[in-house]
């Protein structure tokens, strides 16, 4: 059977957009459009095999310059090390932040010391996870992201730390009760978040980029997978809410809100791609908040 060669040009600029060289004579225009969009649409993955692409014997590959890139690991380490260090500057009341009579003094409120431990623990955990736990699908991201991300993390860390460690800080209204409850929420959510990260890591063998549906394991913290696609984000929001209640500090609440908004966007995207990729994806699951969001 003789095959057709089909050349698709841009109607306005006459530019050659695509060359299909093995088109069946019985192919409809709809099918040709399909072949065209497949070759033009999504970017190809490193693992794609040339033979399996729908391009006949002449393959035209389109190169797209993504611009200056930086590795995910580098970005994560920088954006997490900042808050860890910056918070401590405020905690130790390094000169030129508060009045000179407060230099290197220590707060008399227990909750302020507790908050420092929690905040530092959180970022140390993130740094260790970046180094030893996470398995990244993409190696790199655009360079300007590091400036954007660091401004966000470092800026908010400084803003929160300024108030929590301020000489005029006011401890929570309901005292020890409020602090204990908030600490419990914080610790549970940190453990939960870590459990999810470990569970996700175990889904994917070292060096591979396969994607599978995550399911609950023996660890009770992972049972949240029954209800949400991204329980790591759920636990993360929970941690920050706990921290906000513990410190009763409005900037912390605002930081939690902004973080929640961003993570919801990510969770919805992840949820959508799970649904697209897996026909048998559990229908009960919501992206980030059980039953609601």
């Amino acid at each position: 059977m003789k095959h057709y060669e089909v050349e698709i040009l841009d109607a306005k600029t006459r530019e050659k957009l695509c060359f299909l060289d093995k088109v069946e004579p019985q192919a409809t225009i709809a099918e040709i459009k399909n072949l065209f969009t497949k070759t033009q649409g999504k970017s190809l993955k490193d693992e794609d095999v040339l033979q399996k692409l729908p391009v006949g014997t002449t393959a035209t590959l389109y190169f797209r310059d993504l611009g200056a890139q930086i590795s995910w690991v580098t970005v994560f380490l920088t954006e997490y090390a900042g808050p860890l260090f910056i918070y401590l500057l405020f905690y130790f009341r390094v000169p030129f932040i508060y009045g000179h009579k407060y230099d290197f003094t220590s707060s008399r409120h227990t909750v302020v010391h507790l908050a420092c431990i929690c905040h530092s623990f959180h970022y140390v955990k993130r740094l260790l996870e970046t180094l030893f736990v996470h398995r990244f699908s993409h190696g790199t991201m655009p360079l300007r992201n590091i400036f954007k991300n660091c401004t966000y993390y470092w800026g908010f860390a400084a803003w929160m730390a300024y108030y929590i460690n301020h000489p005029l800080y006011t401890p929570p209204t309901y005292g020890a009760q409020q602090i204990k409850l908030a600490l419990a929420i914080f610790v549970i959510c940190q453990l939960g978040n870590f459990s999810i990260h470990m569970a996700l890591r175990d889904l994917r063998p070292a060096g591979s980029k396969t994607r599978k549906i995550p399911y609950p394991t023996k660890n009770p913290f992972t049972w949240l997978f029954l209800l949400v696609s991204c329980p790591n984000y759920t636990y993360e929001v929970g941690s920050w809410i706990g921290f906000a209640i513990m410190t009763q500090c409005l900037p912390v609440a605002l930081f939690s809100l902004v973080g929640f908004t961003q993570m919801t966007i990510w969770a919805k995207g992840k949820h959508r791609s799970y649904l697209k990729e897996f026909r048998d994806y559990p229908p009960l699951r919501m992206p980030i908040i059980p039953f609601l969001l």
Binding site: I8, L17, K33, Q40, Y163, T170, T247, C249, P251
Partner: protein, 249 residues
């Protein structure tokens, strides 16, 4: 044979095939205009806004003629100014310009009207207020008539020219008026502690409106040149394209 078949196919399904192809394959190159109902709504909106700003312009002229001086004219147009500038919030999603730029400009205007001029009564008699009111009034009358005529596909060249040329003077004029007004408000904000909260308080939060206003003033330094040169760039694109089309006719 193949070539003929292909061309026959495109000619046959000229409308259907072509449109579908563009939509799927190469994204939105040909943006479909708004439907008839949306167009009617947009035309009404733009006509109303043009009329509103004309009311403000007329109000200014009449007050000037009545008073004999150009001082303290703000009071004569305070209400329509607040109404129509705040009403512009509606247009962030619907005008053809970029959402980011439009919302930024509208937010900064609304901020200036409510959070500065309205809130700090002492600046209302300042001449700087008149400066930005005049700049905004002329700009908006031209801009809204531009949109109106564009929607009706009958855009007189003079309107297009005015929109993309007068800003060269009006934009810096408006910015000068805005900055001078904020600057004039500063001492009163400091004195009254307006919109400010200080430590200690039970939410462990503080906000200094005075410092915030200074920050706003400083933000004009990076932002204003960018917007200004963006408009200059747009001007070159839009006005030179018209010249080309004229040549072909």
């Amino acid at each position: 044979m193949a070539a003929a078949a292909a061309t026959a196919a495109t000619k046959g399904n000229g409308g259907g095939g072509g449109r579908a192809g563009v939509g799927e394959a190469s994204g939105t190159r040909k943006k479909k205009g708004p439907g008839p109902v949306a167009t009617a709504y947009l035309v009404i909106y733009n006509v109303v806004m043009t009329a509103g700003w004309l009311v403000i312009a007329v109000g200014l002229v009449r007050a000037y003629l009545a008073k004999g001086s150009y001082h303290s004219l703000y009071y004569s147009i305070e209400k329509p100014l607040k109404f129509f500038q705040t009403g512009a919030l509606l247009e962030v999603r619907i005008v053809p310009s970029s959402v980011v730029l439009t919302s930024f400009q509208v937010m900064s205007r609304v901020f200036l009207i409510w959070a500065v001029t309205h809130s700090v009564k002492e600046v209302q008699s300042e001449d700087s207020v008149l400066l930005f009111v005049i700049a905004w009034t002329i700009t908006e009358i031209i801009r809204y008539s531009f949109y109106t005529f564009s929607l009706l596909n009958h855009l007189p060249y003079i309107i297009k020219w005015a929109r993309y040329t007068l800003f060269i003077v009006l934009y810096p004029m408006g910015v000068a008026g805005e900055l001078l007004t904020v600057y004039a408000a500063l001492p009163f904000v400091r004195q009254a502690g307006l919109y400010s909260i200080s430590l200690p308080n039970k939410y462990n939060f503080s906000f200094d409106y005075y410092a915030f206003l200074i920050l706003i003033m400083m933000s004009y330094i990076p932002i204003f040149p960018q917007l200004y040169f963006h408009m200059i760039h747009q001007r070159r694109k839009v006005l030179s394209r018209t010249e080309e089309y004229k040549k072909f006719e």
